[in-house]
């Protein structure tokens, strides 16, 4: 059987300044990230023959196929605008890897950019939808159901009732993630927080405090995928793609089916780990999509790091913290670092696989697991990265 294991590698990484960076749109940030990624890899513009684009939620300069002419990519072999919400990073790297392995492209740029913050003010307003919905979609606002935050809070509340998960458990994830962010110069939120600070942060909607929720960021991340053989000759230590997979659970609104507490991470894991030929116990570093603290907890369970329902007690000994047994979200994640959808965990996964994490570098980093998550826990991506090709 043919396999993609070790056939492709991430060779370039570009990260723009993140957060409340005003005066630019998403197209600008994308261009900046791609410029940085090409320079990082030691490639030139002429080496790039693939461009995969993923736009965020903001409308300012929203990415389109127009990114190709904006950057003067006039003879691409591969071009697509991809969107599987927060799981898209894995989808892009998967598609790029397949194209490269099959000889249809050589160096494929995957980019995410977003600029939802266009004027100084509350971050929540950045994601507000101006057009009132009609039909069944008009039920949610009539009941006062606003914001994706509430959908995830409903999922977390369900988990709490079924399994006894508490705000102390979720709070530990907020605290451990912030401890890592303190060590990352790129992170937006670097002041230490305690469990008490977590409990004192305002309710957004119970059971979520402010510190259960991710940041809102302007910025962009670009990565370059190349063949493993090409990667060895480039400027940076390659981050080989040993395993990659997707899994998706539709919300059916039917009894007995709960993507909210049982995500499709199980499916993505099956594909990615089978490809990589590794076991869960082999994983050294975790970069988990953390749009909310709860997302981390449910993801740990669905991968089988602990049994279903035991995520709370599992994290509460501090094992996700710096120096802990299971270093997780080592750049501060989306909770404290920056919110670039699946590019947040992917970018930090590349840094860790390369061994370029500085103060936050995890000593043993042979296998780095990166996840993406989108929808209301509907869409999932998994990547296993390594400094070793096999």
């Amino acid at each position: 059987m043919t396999t993609l294991k070790g056939k492709a590698a991430i060779t370039g990484l570009g990260i723009t300044p993140m957060g409340k960076i005003f005066g630019h749109d998403a197209m600008y940030f994308a261009g900046e990230a791609i410029r940085l990624a090409v320079e990082d890899a030691g490639l030139t513009k002429a080496d790039i023959d693939g461009l995969l684009i993923n736009n965020g939620v903001g409308t300012a300069g929203a990415l389109s196929l127009g990114l190709a002419p904006y950057l003067g990519f006039d003879a691409l072999r591969v071009l697509n605008h991809m969107n599987a919400a927060g799981s898209t990073a894995a989808q892009m790297v998967m598609y790029a890897s397949m194209c490269i392995e099959l000889g249809m492209a050589s160096n494929v740029v995957c980019v995410f950019a977003d600029a939802p913050l266009q004027t100084p003010g509350p971050s929540a307003a950045a994601y507000a939808r101006p057009t009132p919905p009609r039909g069944m979609a008009s039920l949610a606002p009539a009941y006062g159901l606003y914001s994706v935050n509430a959908q995830y809070a409903l999922a977390a509340q369900r988990h709490m009732a079924l399994y006894g998960t508490t705000n102390d458990h979720l709070g530990e994830i907020a605290v451990s993630t912030r401890m890592w962010a303190e060590r990352n110069p790129r992170a937006q939120m670097r002041s230490p927080i305690t469990l008490e600070d977590y409990h004192n942060s305002r309710w957004i909607m119970e059971p979520f405090h402010l510190l259960d929720c991710c940041l809102v960021s302007n910025g962009a991340v670009a990565v370059i995928v190349s063949s493993a053989s090409r990667a060895r000759d480039l400027r940076q230590p390659p981050a080989y793609v040993l395993g990659i997979g997707q899994g998706h659970h539709a919300t059916t609104n039917r009894g007995g089916w709960e993507p909210e507490t049982h995500t499709a991470a199980t499916i993505a894991k099956d594909t990615a780990f089978r490809m990589a030929g590794v076991e869960l116990a082999d994983i050294d570093v975790l970069e988990l999509y953390d749009c909310y603290t709860y997302t981390v907890l449910v993801t740990l369970e669905d991968y089988g790091f602990c049994a279903k329902g035991e995520g709370g007690p599992f994290v509460s000994d501090g094992k996700l913290r710096p120096g802990g047994a299971l270093p997780t979200n080592t750049g501060g994640g989306e909770l404290s670092g920056y919110y670039m959808w699946g590019m947040t965990p992917l970018s930090e996964g590349i840094i860790q696989a390369r061994g370029q994490g500085g103060d936050r570098q995890v000593e043993k980093h042979d296998l780095v697991m990166v996840t993406g998550n989108g929808g209301i826990l509907n869409y999932h991506g998994c990547m296993i990265l390594s400094p070793n090709a096999s």
């Binding site: 929540a124 507000a128 009132p132 919905p133 009609r134 039909g135 069944m136 979609a137 008009s138 039920l139 949610a140 606002p141 009539a142 009941y143 006062g144 159901l145 606003y146 914001s147 509430a150 809070a153 409903l154 999922a155 509340q157 369900r158 009732a161 079924l162 305002r202 309710w203 957004i204 909607m205 119970e206 059971p207 979520f208 539709a250 059916t252 609104n253 039917r254 009894g255 007995g256 909210e260």
Partner: protein, 140 residues
Amino acid sequence: MTTQTEPARPAPVPDEVSAPYFEGARDGKLMLMRCLACGAWRFPARDRCDRCWSTETEWAQASGEGTLFSFVLMHQVYHPAFAREVPYNVAVVELAEGIRLTTNIVDCPNEAIHIGMPVQAVFEPVSDTVALPKFRPARG
């Protein structure tokens, strides 16, 4: 001189596919789509059964009985009409028919809301033409 009026809550806007749902609620009935081919209930209303893909559909009255699947207490004001309501609940109820829908729990203090509690549909008029199904604790 100006007078301050309470901003109105966003009213549901029925469209073609959802009209029987809102008309049913106005008449005190919880109406759901049911597939004529495979018998599966579905929510929200849409033109095709997601289980068997048939487009042959009927509207049938649901019992209005259910249990609380999950809930949140909204503390922030996302719409000015809810400014005096916070913290208010938003809930998901799983109906006896096996279908989940978003709603509010009424006639029950927030502190007493708990997942698994039996609930019963009630219908809250929004306008002359539209009502919203809400749920109160079931009386034993």
